[in-house]
Chain length 365, copies 2
DNA sequence: GGCGCCACCTAAACCGGTTTAGTGACGTGT
DNA sequence: ACACGTCACTAAACCGGTTTAGGTGGCGCC
């Protein structure tokens, strides 16, 4: 037999459809023994609610969307999404929400519009934020709850669009400081795309520490997070007359490619050149030399983002009726404890070592 | 204003709800100028159908599910999913279907049951097939259309459960033959889990070629596709009294870790040891030495799997009514051209070279 | 003993679509 | 001129839930 419906349960229990609905949703107005009988009957028939029907009557989709605004080939070696998705899902599934994925290589605006137009999602997650990203404004206009995956930089778009994520900058600062402590003074940077906020913030942190330390802000090459671009950037840096003694890469993939280029040119890592990555990909610890890099807990980040999004979705019970607005206290869901994401931290391995020419003038006794 | 409904469109166009539905679905019974008028009105109001409502009345969810039966930490460095998902999505989105993701670390049976119980999906994709996998039987029992992502080995479960994917074996055979051609006779294998079909098939192919060539079937270490396990397995192989001169790894991640171990022990790759991987991850070409490996077109695979699944879903118009069964010709969707996946092929780079002790007795003039 | 009230439950409307049955106008054949 | 068929469309049922408005019975109370 096909899936039993609520009507089947009602008939079997000898009550009305409405009674069954009340009983199943723990609402008052049903005596406790009737409630128990209904629940028993429902369980014995193996009844489960139809997500679609429920969504239709409550106007809630019980699903959230994640739009990946990347070309398939860029998605290929990504260190972020699989873990992030895993984190999201653990939270979403235990709260009865589904995760809808959409890959929108180009026109991601259309993808968002479509998700909301078809009523498929209650909210979305936005990744790979650009500087001057137009998506937050779009989502605010659509009044679609959204978590912008990235550090909260105090911007504000709409009441239901918030940022969630750890700031990369402190860990990058820690990385550069680590290199300074090792006596490096020519510290280069292979940056991610500067129109991406995380590309920009990593570069900003690198620059800031050097500036504060009174060290020359070394050469920087803008790359695109791909291995290929990392290799090119490294070649470029190693061709410089004044070769850097250390290179801070914006991610592990570029750092690994850079390691290959250095090896090919006979530049020894770490004695002649220190390199650092970002992500702590699984392979980082197994490279030779093992890569000094920054570890982020992406799974926890995913969990936090999911919790935050569900808060937003639940925060406004009924929209556009306007009635609920008068209390003004959406703050009851504002607890941030479980939506904090653990900070990234430096993991020192073998790819960093004291600078070759020891200009290291003993800041230790 | 909120999203316009079909009723709003009907009122605005001065016709009934039904007429609008007919017009929008290109069904006969509407004069062409009325149809045009309705379409114009709908377009000008910015109307789009609600996926949920449509799903409810047609009993089709317009969504398919992908259950990832892996722990988050295993998902982390996966070379397969991001590309595969990208491939899936390109096809699904242009056909109006959504992709639902679920991560079920342990009990994936429950995940499938839930997806079908809630009526969220029209079909699912099953990855990471085990030998004696119980999922195909479950899906057959649930009568849920499913594409089993892997080579078609001729098994048959239910009428709506089919395999889709390229066979790994030919490319692995090509790899081993490549090593034989280079004069290697002690060719080891670091295998994936043997309860996974792709782990087993790669090992089987390796073994078969050696056997057919009359070469000793070298040592094999079963690992789990992780970098850590690849490193351990490599150490174990290099500790052998009769050290292999080549190692065939079941994936790039383990091969890369193996490269690190070899380097650490001062075993030069490729002059003393040849190694090969599988996947052609983005970093493979940028390692030193660059990794000889097998390239698979995972994006195309995803596209093919999505097309095949949609064929299955569309194949049976109405289920459980039984009426449609008498024609028996589900074959009209059976065209396989667009659901073929390009075969994997060997990419020779720098990590393979002639065997060190030249027992290579000139098969070339 | 009649009143009101509360607890418990039923009937029916509703969400936004699809689909079937039915209706009126018009054209056609004999 | 009349039955008949077709076309174009409307009205209403339906999918499977939720929610609101009503209705019934039992009880306490004056």
């Amino acid at each position: 037999m096909a899936r039993p419906t609520i009507t089947d349960v009602a008939r079997a229990a000898g009550v009305s459809k409405g009674a069954v609905s009340f009983a199943l949703n723990d609402r008052p107005g049903i005596s406790s023994d009737t409630r128990r009988r209904i629940l028993d009957v429902a369980a014995s028939m193996g009844w489960t609610p139809s997500a679609g029907a429920r969504a239709l009557s409550t106007s809630r989709a019980l699903a959230v969307g994640l739009v990946l605004a990347r070309a398939p080939e860029v998605l290929r070696a990504d260190a972020f999404f699989p873990s992030f998705i895993a984190g999201l899902e653990t939270v979403l599934s235990e709260r009865g929400h589904a995760l809808l994925l959409q890959v929108a290589e180009r026109d991601d605006h259309a993808a968002y519009r479509r998700l909301v137009a078809e009523g498929r999602v209650d909210g979305v997650l936005v990744t790979d934020l650009h500087v001057d990203d137009t998506r937050p404004a779009l989502l605010a206009e659509l009044d679609l709850p959204a978590v912008l995956v990235g550090p909260d930089l105090g911007e504000s778009w709409g009441p239901r669009q918030v940022a969630c994520g750890a700031d990369d900058a402190p860990a990058v600062r820690e990385t550069v400081q680590h290199l300074l402590d090792l006596g490096h003074t020519r510290i280069a940077h292979v940056a991610g795309p500067q129109q991406l906020v995380h590309g920009r913030s990593r570069r900003g942190a690198w620059e800031q520490v050097l500036r504060e330390a009174g060290v020359a802000v070394g050469p920087v090459v803008e790359a695109d997070f791909s291995a290929e671009s990392g290799a090119r950037a490294t070649a470029q840096l190693l061709d410089l007359a004044e070769r850097p003694t250390a290179i801070v890469y914006a991610n592990d993939l570029m750092a690994t490619a850079g390691l290959g280029v250095a090896h090919e040119r006979g530049v020894d890592v770490p004695t002649e050149l220190s390199i650092t990555g970002f992500d702590d990909t699984e392979i980082a610890a197994h490279l030779r030399p093992a890569l000094t890099t920054v570890r982020t807990d992406v799974v926890a980040w995913g969990r936090a983002a999911a919790r935050r999004l569900l808060q937003l979705v639940d925060g406004v019970s009924t929209d556009s009726t306007g009635e609920t607005g008068e209390t003004g206290e959406t703050g009851e869901n504002g607890g941030t404890g479980e939506t904090d994401v653990p900070p990234a931290r430096l993991v020192v391995r073998a790819s960093t070592a004291p600078a070759p020419t020891l200009t290291h003038q003993g800041d230790r006794p």
